[in-house]
Protein backbone atom coordinates (compact mmCIF):
# COMPACT_ATOMS: atom_id res chain seq x y z
CA UNK A 1 0.00 0.00 0.00
CA UNK A 2 1.41 3.38 -0.90
CA UNK A 3 1.76 6.07 1.74
CA UNK A 4 -0.81 8.27 0.05
CA UNK A 5 -3.54 5.67 0.03
CA UNK A 6 -2.99 4.82 3.70
CA UNK A 7 -3.31 8.49 4.62
CA UNK A 8 -6.38 8.80 2.44
CA UNK A 9 -7.96 5.88 4.26
CA UNK A 10 -7.25 7.47 7.62
CA UNK A 11 -8.79 10.74 6.48
CA UNK A 12 -11.74 8.92 5.05
CA UNK A 13 -12.39 7.01 8.27
CA UNK A 14 -12.19 10.25 10.23
CA UNK A 15 -14.58 12.06 7.89
CA UNK A 16 -17.05 9.21 8.25
CA UNK A 17 -17.01 8.97 4.49
CA UNK A 18 -16.22 5.26 4.50
CA UNK A 19 -15.22 4.01 1.10
CA UNK A 20 -18.12 1.61 1.02
CA UNK A 21 -21.05 3.73 -0.02
CA UNK A 22 -23.70 2.31 -2.28
CA UNK A 23 -24.33 4.13 -5.53
CA UNK A 24 -27.50 6.20 -5.28
CA UNK A 25 -27.63 7.40 -8.84
CA UNK A 26 -25.56 6.95 -11.94
CA UNK A 27 -25.31 8.89 -15.17
CA UNK A 28 -24.58 6.54 -18.04
CA UNK A 29 -23.43 7.88 -21.38
CA UNK A 30 -25.45 10.98 -20.66
CA UNK A 31 -25.54 13.63 -23.36
CA UNK A 32 -27.83 16.61 -23.48
CA UNK A 33 -28.82 18.95 -26.30
CA UNK A 34 -30.32 22.42 -26.28
CA UNK A 35 -31.74 22.14 -29.79
CA UNK A 36 -28.67 21.44 -31.91
CA UNK A 37 -26.18 22.46 -29.28
CA UNK A 38 -24.59 19.60 -27.42
CA UNK A 39 -24.25 20.86 -23.85
CA UNK A 40 -23.21 17.56 -22.26
CA UNK A 41 -21.13 14.93 -23.93
CA UNK A 42 -21.20 11.32 -22.80
CA UNK A 43 -21.05 11.81 -19.05
CA UNK A 44 -20.54 8.76 -16.85
CA UNK A 45 -20.53 9.29 -13.14
CA UNK A 46 -21.73 7.58 -9.97
CA UNK A 47 -23.40 9.59 -7.21
CA UNK A 48 -22.69 7.93 -3.87
CA UNK A 49 -25.43 7.53 -1.28
CA UNK A 50 -25.23 9.77 1.81
CA UNK A 51 -22.30 11.65 0.34
CA UNK A 52 -21.96 15.14 -1.03
CA UNK A 53 -20.82 15.30 -4.62
CA UNK A 54 -19.69 18.70 -5.88
CA UNK A 55 -19.73 19.74 -9.52
CA UNK A 56 -17.15 22.38 -10.38
CA UNK A 57 -15.96 24.02 -13.57
CA UNK A 58 -15.93 27.36 -15.35
CA UNK A 59 -19.12 29.07 -16.48
CA UNK A 60 -20.70 27.28 -19.40
CA UNK A 61 -19.02 23.94 -18.64
CA UNK A 62 -22.39 22.20 -18.28
CA UNK A 63 -22.46 21.63 -14.53
CA UNK A 64 -25.88 23.26 -14.00
CA UNK A 65 -27.19 21.59 -17.14
CA UNK A 66 -26.03 18.29 -15.72
CA UNK A 67 -27.66 18.97 -12.34
CA UNK A 68 -30.94 19.88 -14.01
CA UNK A 69 -31.06 16.60 -15.90
CA UNK A 70 -31.50 14.85 -12.56
CA UNK A 71 -34.90 16.35 -11.89
CA UNK A 72 -35.92 16.66 -15.51
CA UNK A 73 -36.03 20.43 -15.41
CA UNK A 74 -35.08 20.58 -19.05
CA UNK A 75 -38.46 19.02 -19.90
CA UNK A 76 -40.00 22.46 -19.32
CA UNK A 77 -38.54 23.84 -22.56
CA UNK A 78 -39.24 22.46 -26.02
CA UNK A 79 -36.32 21.37 -28.20
CA UNK A 80 -34.28 19.98 -25.34
CA UNK A 81 -33.18 16.41 -25.70
CA UNK A 82 -31.51 13.82 -23.47
CA UNK A 83 -29.44 10.86 -24.59
CA UNK A 84 -28.29 8.10 -22.28
CA UNK A 85 -29.64 7.38 -18.83
CA UNK A 86 -29.68 8.48 -15.24
CA UNK A 87 -30.31 5.46 -13.07
CA UNK A 88 -31.73 5.95 -9.61
CA UNK A 89 -31.07 3.15 -7.12
CA UNK A 90 -32.09 0.91 -5.45
CA UNK A 91 -35.10 0.59 -7.76
CA UNK A 92 -32.96 1.10 -10.89
CA UNK A 93 -35.37 3.60 -12.44
CA UNK A 94 -34.13 5.51 -15.47
CA UNK A 95 -35.09 9.07 -14.54
CA UNK A 96 -34.92 10.14 -18.16
CA UNK A 97 -37.38 7.53 -19.36
CA UNK A 98 -40.27 9.44 -21.00
CA UNK A 99 -42.68 7.11 -19.19
CA UNK A 100 -41.41 8.27 -15.82
CA UNK A 101 -43.50 11.16 -14.51
CA UNK A 102 -41.25 14.26 -14.05
CA UNK A 103 -43.41 15.47 -11.15
CA UNK A 104 -42.71 12.23 -9.30
CA UNK A 105 -39.00 12.58 -10.15
CA UNK A 106 -38.99 16.05 -8.62
CA UNK A 107 -40.49 14.71 -5.39
CA UNK A 108 -37.64 12.23 -5.13
CA UNK A 109 -34.94 14.68 -6.24
CA UNK A 110 -35.56 18.19 -4.94
CA UNK A 111 -33.77 21.27 -6.18
CA UNK A 112 -32.54 24.30 -4.24
CA UNK A 113 -31.58 27.25 -6.40
CA UNK A 114 -28.99 30.01 -6.40
CA UNK A 115 -31.30 32.72 -5.15
CA UNK A 116 -33.82 31.88 -2.45
CA UNK A 117 -37.15 31.66 -4.23
CA UNK A 118 -39.89 31.21 -1.65
CA UNK A 119 -43.48 31.32 -2.89
CA UNK A 120 -45.45 34.47 -2.01
CA UNK A 121 -47.11 32.56 0.79
CA UNK A 122 -46.62 31.99 4.50
CA UNK A 123 -43.65 30.10 5.88
CA UNK A 124 -45.94 27.17 6.67
CA UNK A 125 -47.53 27.08 3.24
CA UNK A 126 -44.18 27.20 1.50
CA UNK A 127 -43.10 24.02 3.22
CA UNK A 128 -46.52 22.36 2.96
CA UNK A 129 -46.76 23.05 -0.76
CA UNK A 130 -45.20 19.86 -2.09
CA UNK A 131 -47.17 17.79 0.41
CA UNK A 132 -50.44 19.33 -0.78
CA UNK A 133 -49.45 18.67 -4.40
CA UNK A 134 -48.88 15.11 -3.37
CA UNK A 135 -52.44 15.03 -1.97
CA UNK A 136 -51.80 15.27 1.76
CA UNK A 137 -54.99 16.65 3.39
CA UNK A 138 -54.61 15.84 7.09
CA UNK A 139 -53.87 19.01 9.09
CA UNK A 140 -52.10 16.98 11.69
CA UNK A 141 -49.86 15.20 9.19
CA UNK A 142 -49.14 18.47 7.41
CA UNK A 143 -48.07 20.30 10.53
CA UNK A 144 -45.92 17.38 11.70
CA UNK A 145 -44.20 17.19 8.32
CA UNK A 146 -43.69 20.95 8.16
CA UNK A 147 -42.11 20.94 11.60
CA UNK A 148 -39.83 18.04 10.67
CA UNK A 149 -38.73 19.73 7.48
CA UNK A 150 -38.09 23.06 9.23
CA UNK A 151 -36.09 21.29 11.92
CA UNK A 152 -34.18 19.42 9.22
CA UNK A 153 -33.30 22.76 7.63
CA UNK A 154 -32.23 24.21 11.02
CA UNK A 155 -34.90 26.89 10.78
CA UNK A 156 -37.57 25.68 13.22
CA UNK A 157 -36.33 27.54 16.31
CA UNK A 158 -36.22 30.80 14.41
CA UNK A 159 -39.71 30.60 12.88
CA UNK A 160 -41.83 28.38 15.12
CA UNK A 161 -43.73 31.37 16.54
CA UNK A 162 -44.43 32.99 13.21
CA UNK A 163 -45.24 30.16 10.85
CA UNK A 164 -48.00 32.17 9.26
CA UNK A 165 -45.88 35.21 8.47
CA UNK A 166 -45.06 35.85 4.86
CA UNK A 167 -41.89 34.03 3.82
CA UNK A 168 -40.52 37.22 2.25
CA UNK A 169 -40.09 38.70 5.73
CA UNK A 170 -37.25 36.27 6.46
CA UNK A 171 -33.60 37.20 5.87
CA UNK A 172 -31.81 35.88 2.77
CA UNK A 173 -30.13 33.06 4.66
CA UNK A 174 -33.41 32.10 6.35
CA UNK A 175 -35.23 32.17 3.01
CA UNK A 176 -32.62 29.80 1.59
CA UNK A 177 -33.07 27.45 4.55
CA UNK A 178 -36.82 27.72 4.01
CA UNK A 179 -36.29 26.58 0.42
CA UNK A 180 -34.25 23.67 1.76
CA UNK A 181 -37.11 22.84 4.18
CA UNK A 182 -39.54 23.01 1.26
CA UNK A 183 -37.30 20.63 -0.68
CA UNK A 184 -37.04 18.29 2.32
CA UNK A 185 -40.78 18.16 3.01
CA UNK A 186 -41.47 15.54 0.37
CA UNK A 187 -38.78 13.24 1.81
CA UNK A 188 -36.56 13.37 -1.25
CA UNK A 189 -33.74 10.88 -1.75
CA UNK A 190 -31.43 13.36 -3.42
CA UNK A 191 -31.10 17.09 -2.87
CA UNK A 192 -29.81 19.09 -5.80
CA UNK A 193 -28.17 22.40 -4.93
CA UNK A 194 -27.45 24.90 -7.68
CA UNK A 195 -24.98 27.39 -6.19
CA UNK A 196 -27.05 27.62 -3.01
CA UNK A 197 -24.89 30.24 -1.28
CA UNK A 198 -23.78 32.56 -4.04
CA UNK A 199 -26.37 35.16 -2.98
CA UNK A 200 -25.60 34.87 0.75
CA UNK A 201 -23.16 36.54 3.12
CA UNK A 202 -20.34 34.48 4.72
CA UNK A 203 -22.27 33.78 7.94
CA UNK A 204 -25.39 32.56 6.13
CA UNK A 205 -23.09 30.61 3.79
CA UNK A 206 -21.43 28.90 6.74
CA UNK A 207 -24.81 27.89 8.18
CA UNK A 208 -25.95 26.44 4.84
CA UNK A 209 -22.67 24.52 4.51
CA UNK A 210 -23.09 23.20 8.04
CA UNK A 211 -26.61 22.15 7.13
CA UNK A 212 -25.42 20.35 4.00
CA UNK A 213 -22.99 18.35 6.12
CA UNK A 214 -25.82 17.43 8.53
CA UNK A 215 -28.27 16.60 5.77
CA UNK A 216 -26.11 13.97 4.15
CA UNK A 217 -27.00 11.60 6.95
CA UNK A 218 -30.54 11.60 5.57
CA UNK A 219 -30.14 12.29 1.88
CA UNK A 220 -27.66 12.21 -0.96
CA UNK A 221 -26.49 15.60 -2.12
CA UNK A 222 -25.34 16.95 -5.45
CA UNK A 223 -24.11 20.53 -5.41
CA UNK A 224 -23.01 22.90 -8.14
CA UNK A 225 -20.68 25.59 -6.88
CA UNK A 226 -18.41 28.27 -8.29
CA UNK A 227 -16.61 28.46 -5.01
CA UNK A 228 -13.86 25.87 -5.03
CA UNK A 229 -13.16 26.27 -1.35
CA UNK A 230 -16.81 25.47 -0.75
CA UNK A 231 -16.52 22.32 -2.83
CA UNK A 232 -13.41 21.40 -0.84
CA UNK A 233 -15.18 22.07 2.46
CA UNK A 234 -18.52 20.35 1.99
CA UNK A 235 -18.07 17.58 -0.53
CA UNK A 236 -16.84 14.02 -0.36
CA UNK A 237 -16.50 13.66 -4.11
CA UNK A 238 -15.82 16.27 -6.75
CA UNK A 239 -16.42 16.26 -10.48
CA UNK A 240 -14.59 18.76 -12.66
CA UNK A 241 -16.38 19.57 -15.90
CA UNK A 242 -15.24 21.54 -18.91
CA UNK A 243 -17.04 22.22 -22.20
CA UNK A 244 -19.71 19.64 -21.50
CA UNK A 245 -17.23 16.89 -20.66
CA UNK A 246 -16.48 15.28 -17.33
CA UNK A 247 -12.73 15.81 -17.06
CA UNK A 248 -12.07 14.29 -13.68
CA UNK A 249 -14.07 12.69 -10.91
CA UNK A 250 -12.65 11.59 -7.59
CA UNK A 251 -12.51 11.91 -3.86
CA UNK A 252 -12.46 15.58 -2.96
CA UNK A 253 -9.29 15.62 -0.88
CA UNK A 254 -7.40 13.74 -3.55
CA UNK A 255 -8.68 15.94 -6.33
CA UNK A 256 -7.70 19.10 -4.49
CA UNK A 257 -4.29 17.88 -3.36
CA UNK A 258 -3.25 15.69 -6.24
CA UNK A 259 -5.48 15.95 -9.28
CA UNK A 260 -4.75 13.38 -11.97
CA UNK A 261 -5.58 15.64 -14.86
CA UNK A 262 -3.59 18.69 -15.97
CA UNK A 263 -6.78 20.58 -16.88
CA UNK A 264 -8.19 20.01 -13.38
CA UNK A 265 -4.88 21.14 -11.90
CA UNK A 266 -4.89 24.33 -13.95
CA UNK A 267 -8.47 25.14 -13.04
CA UNK A 268 -8.24 24.61 -9.30
CA UNK A 269 -4.92 26.44 -9.02
CA UNK A 270 -6.18 29.44 -10.95
CA UNK A 271 -4.08 28.83 -14.04
CA UNK A 272 -7.06 28.42 -16.29
CA UNK A 273 -6.56 30.68 -19.29
Amino acid sequence: MSAASSVASILEARAGAGAQSAPKAEARSLSFFYGDFRALNDINVVVHEHRVTALIGPSGCGKSTFLRCFNRMHDLYPGNRYEGEIRLYPDDTNLLDPNVDPIEVRMRLSMVFQKPNPFPKSIFENVAYGLRVRGERSRRALSDKVEDALRGAALWEEVKNRLHDLAFNLSGGQQQRLCIARALATDPEILLFDEPTSALDPIATASIEELITDLKRKVTILIVTHNMQQAARVSDYTAYMYLGELIEFGRTDELFIKPRNKQTEDYITGRFG
Binding site: S2, A3, A4, A232, F256, K258, D266, T269, G270, R271
Partner: protein
Protein backbone atom coordinates in the same frame (compact mmCIF):
# COMPACT_ATOMS: atom_id res chain seq x y z
CA UNK B 1 5.89 18.25 -13.48
CA UNK B 2 5.50 19.17 -17.11
CA UNK B 3 5.23 22.67 -18.49
CA UNK B 4 3.71 24.91 -15.85
CA UNK B 5 1.12 27.36 -17.06
CA UNK B 6 1.22 30.68 -15.27
CA UNK B 7 -1.40 31.74 -12.79
CA UNK B 8 -4.05 34.17 -13.92
CA UNK B 9 -3.03 36.25 -10.93
CA UNK B 10 0.39 37.73 -11.65
CA UNK B 11 0.71 38.73 -8.01
CA UNK B 12 0.24 35.13 -6.89
CA UNK B 13 2.84 34.04 -9.42
CA UNK B 14 5.23 36.69 -8.11
CA UNK B 15 4.63 35.71 -4.46
CA UNK B 16 5.39 32.06 -5.21
CA UNK B 17 8.50 32.99 -7.20
CA UNK B 18 9.83 35.20 -4.44
CA UNK B 19 9.28 32.47 -1.86
CA UNK B 20 10.95 29.83 -4.01
CA UNK B 21 13.91 32.14 -4.58
CA UNK B 22 14.25 32.83 -0.86
CA UNK B 23 14.29 29.10 -0.13
CA UNK B 24 17.16 28.68 -2.58
CA UNK B 25 19.02 31.63 -1.06
CA UNK B 26 18.59 30.12 2.38
CA UNK B 27 19.79 26.79 1.01
CA UNK B 28 22.89 28.46 -0.44
CA UNK B 29 23.66 30.07 2.88
CA UNK B 30 23.22 26.80 4.75
CA UNK B 31 25.48 25.00 2.29
CA UNK B 32 28.19 27.63 2.84
CA UNK B 33 27.74 27.20 6.60
CA UNK B 34 28.49 23.46 6.45
CA UNK B 35 31.51 23.97 4.18
CA UNK B 36 32.91 26.62 6.47
CA UNK B 37 32.22 24.57 9.59
CA UNK B 38 33.97 21.52 8.15
CA UNK B 39 36.94 23.66 7.15
CA UNK B 40 37.03 25.02 10.67
CA UNK B 41 36.95 21.48 12.02
CA UNK B 42 40.09 20.71 10.03
CA UNK B 43 41.95 23.95 10.65
CA UNK B 44 40.59 25.31 13.91
CA UNK B 45 40.55 28.76 12.28
CA UNK B 46 38.87 31.06 14.82
CA UNK B 47 37.66 33.49 12.14
CA UNK B 48 35.81 30.71 10.31
CA UNK B 49 34.29 29.48 13.55
CA UNK B 50 32.92 32.87 14.51
CA UNK B 51 31.70 33.39 10.95
CA UNK B 52 29.55 30.25 11.18
CA UNK B 53 28.19 31.22 14.58
CA UNK B 54 27.46 34.75 13.36
CA UNK B 55 25.69 33.56 10.18
CA UNK B 56 23.46 31.15 12.06
CA UNK B 57 21.28 34.12 12.96
CA UNK B 58 20.77 34.86 9.27
CA UNK B 59 19.68 31.25 8.68
CA UNK B 60 17.09 31.61 11.44
CA UNK B 61 15.92 34.90 9.95
CA UNK B 62 15.33 33.19 6.60
CA UNK B 63 13.31 30.45 8.26
CA UNK B 64 11.00 32.91 9.99
CA UNK B 65 10.60 35.08 6.89
CA UNK B 66 9.83 32.17 4.57
CA UNK B 67 7.36 30.65 7.01
CA UNK B 68 5.65 34.03 7.22
CA UNK B 69 5.48 34.22 3.44
CA UNK B 70 3.89 30.75 3.34
CA UNK B 71 1.23 31.81 5.87
CA UNK B 72 0.60 34.90 3.83
CA UNK B 73 0.06 32.87 0.66
CA UNK B 74 -2.26 30.41 2.41
CA UNK B 75 -4.38 33.23 3.81
CA UNK B 76 -4.54 35.22 0.61
CA UNK B 77 -4.71 32.51 -2.03
CA UNK B 78 -6.01 29.29 -0.46
CA UNK B 79 -3.64 27.36 -2.72
CA UNK B 80 -4.73 23.99 -4.11
CA UNK B 81 -3.09 21.01 -5.81
CA UNK B 82 0.55 21.66 -6.83
CA UNK B 83 0.51 25.14 -5.26
CA UNK B 84 -0.73 23.69 -1.98
CA UNK B 85 1.92 20.98 -2.08
CA UNK B 86 4.59 23.55 -2.85
CA UNK B 87 3.64 25.73 0.11
CA UNK B 88 3.28 22.83 2.53
CA UNK B 89 6.51 21.36 1.19
CA UNK B 90 8.41 24.65 1.56
CA UNK B 91 7.16 25.06 5.10
CA UNK B 92 8.74 21.71 6.03
CA UNK B 93 11.72 22.24 3.77
CA UNK B 94 12.83 25.37 5.64
CA UNK B 95 12.51 23.59 8.99
CA UNK B 96 15.03 21.02 7.80
CA UNK B 97 17.28 23.71 6.32
CA UNK B 98 17.25 25.53 9.63
CA UNK B 99 18.16 22.34 11.47
CA UNK B 100 21.04 21.79 9.08
CA UNK B 101 22.12 25.31 9.98
CA UNK B 102 22.01 24.35 13.66
CA UNK B 103 24.18 21.31 12.99
CA UNK B 104 26.72 23.46 11.13
CA UNK B 105 26.89 25.76 14.13
CA UNK B 106 27.35 22.75 16.40
CA UNK B 107 30.27 21.55 14.24
CA UNK B 108 31.87 24.99 14.46
CA UNK B 109 31.55 25.10 18.25
CA UNK B 110 33.00 21.58 18.54
CA UNK B 111 35.86 22.55 16.20
CA UNK B 112 36.76 25.32 18.62
CA UNK B 113 36.78 22.91 21.58
CA UNK B 114 38.75 20.22 19.73
CA UNK B 115 41.49 22.61 18.66
CA UNK B 116 41.72 24.13 22.11
CA UNK B 117 42.93 20.71 23.34
CA UNK B 118 45.73 20.84 20.80
CA UNK B 119 47.25 17.57 19.52
CA UNK B 120 45.84 17.74 16.01
CA UNK B 121 43.17 15.13 16.70
CA UNK B 122 40.84 16.23 13.93
CA UNK B 123 43.31 15.44 11.15
CA UNK B 124 43.46 11.81 12.20
CA UNK B 125 39.92 11.19 11.05
CA UNK B 126 39.60 11.91 7.32
CA UNK B 127 36.33 9.96 7.38
CA UNK B 128 34.66 12.91 9.10
CA UNK B 129 35.64 15.28 6.32
CA UNK B 130 34.55 12.70 3.75
CA UNK B 131 31.13 12.31 5.37
CA UNK B 132 30.89 16.10 5.39
CA UNK B 133 31.53 16.19 1.66
CA UNK B 134 28.76 13.67 1.06
CA UNK B 135 26.42 15.75 3.25
CA UNK B 136 27.18 18.90 1.25
CA UNK B 137 26.67 17.02 -2.00
CA UNK B 138 23.30 15.72 -0.76
CA UNK B 139 22.17 19.18 0.27
CA UNK B 140 23.24 20.68 -3.03
CA UNK B 141 21.48 17.94 -5.00
CA UNK B 142 18.35 18.38 -2.83
CA UNK B 143 18.27 22.11 -3.51
CA UNK B 144 18.85 21.49 -7.18
CA UNK B 145 15.97 18.99 -7.27
CA UNK B 146 13.79 21.58 -5.53
CA UNK B 147 14.74 24.29 -8.01
CA UNK B 148 14.05 22.06 -11.00
CA UNK B 149 11.15 20.12 -9.44
CA UNK B 150 13.08 16.97 -10.24
CA UNK B 151 11.69 13.95 -8.37
CA UNK B 152 14.28 11.54 -9.82
CA UNK B 153 17.11 13.78 -8.63
CA UNK B 154 15.50 13.92 -5.20
CA UNK B 155 15.33 10.11 -5.06
CA UNK B 156 19.10 9.95 -5.62
CA UNK B 157 19.58 12.13 -2.54
CA UNK B 158 17.51 9.76 -0.46
CA UNK B 159 19.69 6.90 -1.62
CA UNK B 160 22.90 8.68 -0.68
CA UNK B 161 21.93 8.96 2.97
CA UNK B 162 23.08 5.37 3.55
CA UNK B 163 26.61 6.37 2.43
CA UNK B 164 26.81 8.92 5.24
CA UNK B 165 25.44 6.44 7.75
CA UNK B 166 28.13 3.97 6.71
CA UNK B 167 30.84 6.59 7.01
CA UNK B 168 29.54 7.55 10.47
CA UNK B 169 29.70 3.96 11.72
CA UNK B 170 33.23 3.62 10.39
CA UNK B 171 34.41 6.86 12.05
CA UNK B 172 32.83 5.73 15.30
CA UNK B 173 34.75 2.45 15.17
CA UNK B 174 38.04 4.27 14.59
CA UNK B 175 37.32 6.64 17.47
CA UNK B 176 36.63 3.81 19.86
CA UNK B 177 39.98 2.23 19.00
CA UNK B 178 41.65 5.64 19.40
CA UNK B 179 40.16 6.10 22.85
CA UNK B 180 41.08 2.59 23.95
CA UNK B 181 44.70 3.10 22.91
CA UNK B 182 45.05 6.28 24.93
CA UNK B 183 42.42 7.30 27.46
CA UNK B 184 43.74 10.90 27.41
CA UNK B 185 42.12 11.27 23.99
CA UNK B 186 38.65 10.56 25.33
CA UNK B 187 37.57 14.18 25.63
CA UNK B 188 38.61 15.31 22.12
CA UNK B 189 37.44 11.99 20.66
CA UNK B 190 33.98 12.47 22.14
CA UNK B 191 33.90 15.91 20.59
CA UNK B 192 34.77 14.40 17.23
CA UNK B 193 31.89 11.95 17.75
CA UNK B 194 29.60 14.96 18.11
CA UNK B 195 30.90 16.40 14.86
CA UNK B 196 30.41 13.11 13.05
CA UNK B 197 26.94 12.83 14.53
CA UNK B 198 26.10 16.36 13.38
CA UNK B 199 27.15 15.45 9.84
CA UNK B 200 25.09 12.28 10.00
CA UNK B 201 22.09 14.42 11.06
CA UNK B 202 22.69 16.78 8.15
CA UNK B 203 22.38 13.75 5.89
CA UNK B 204 19.04 12.89 7.52
CA UNK B 205 17.76 16.42 7.04
CA UNK B 206 18.94 16.48 3.42
CA UNK B 207 17.02 13.25 2.91
CA UNK B 208 13.91 14.90 4.40
CA UNK B 209 14.33 17.81 1.98
CA UNK B 210 14.48 15.41 -0.91
CA UNK B 211 11.34 13.63 0.29
CA UNK B 212 9.52 16.97 0.36
CA UNK B 213 10.58 17.58 -3.24
CA UNK B 214 9.05 14.24 -4.20
CA UNK B 215 5.84 15.22 -2.38
CA UNK B 216 5.73 18.57 -4.14
CA UNK B 217 6.26 17.04 -7.56
CA UNK B 218 4.40 13.75 -7.28
CA UNK B 219 1.86 14.46 -4.56
CA UNK B 220 2.83 11.33 -2.68
CA UNK B 221 4.14 11.38 0.85
CA UNK B 222 7.16 9.08 0.71
CA UNK B 223 8.36 9.63 4.26
CA UNK B 224 8.87 6.41 6.20
CA UNK B 225 8.71 4.25 3.08
CA UNK B 226 11.38 2.05 1.56
CA UNK B 227 13.73 3.25 -1.16
CA UNK B 228 12.11 0.75 -3.53
CA UNK B 229 8.72 2.41 -2.90
CA UNK B 230 10.26 5.81 -3.55
CA UNK B 231 11.77 4.65 -6.82
CA UNK B 232 8.45 3.20 -7.92
CA UNK B 233 6.68 6.45 -7.07
CA UNK B 234 9.21 8.56 -8.90
CA UNK B 235 9.03 6.36 -11.99
CA UNK B 236 5.22 6.56 -12.07
CA UNK B 237 3.81 8.94 -14.65
Amino acid sequence: MAAITEHISKQFEADLDTTRTRVLQMGGLVEAQILTAIDAFGSGDAALISQVIENERRVNGYEVAIDGACNHIVVKRQPAASDLRLIMGISKFVTDLERIGDEAEKIARMAKAIHEHGGNHAQRFPGVRHAGQIAVRMLRAGLDAFARLDAAGAAEVVKEDTAIDREFTSVLRQLITYMMEDPRTITPALEIVWVAKAIERIGDHAKNLAEQVIYIVKGTDVRHTSFADIQREVARE
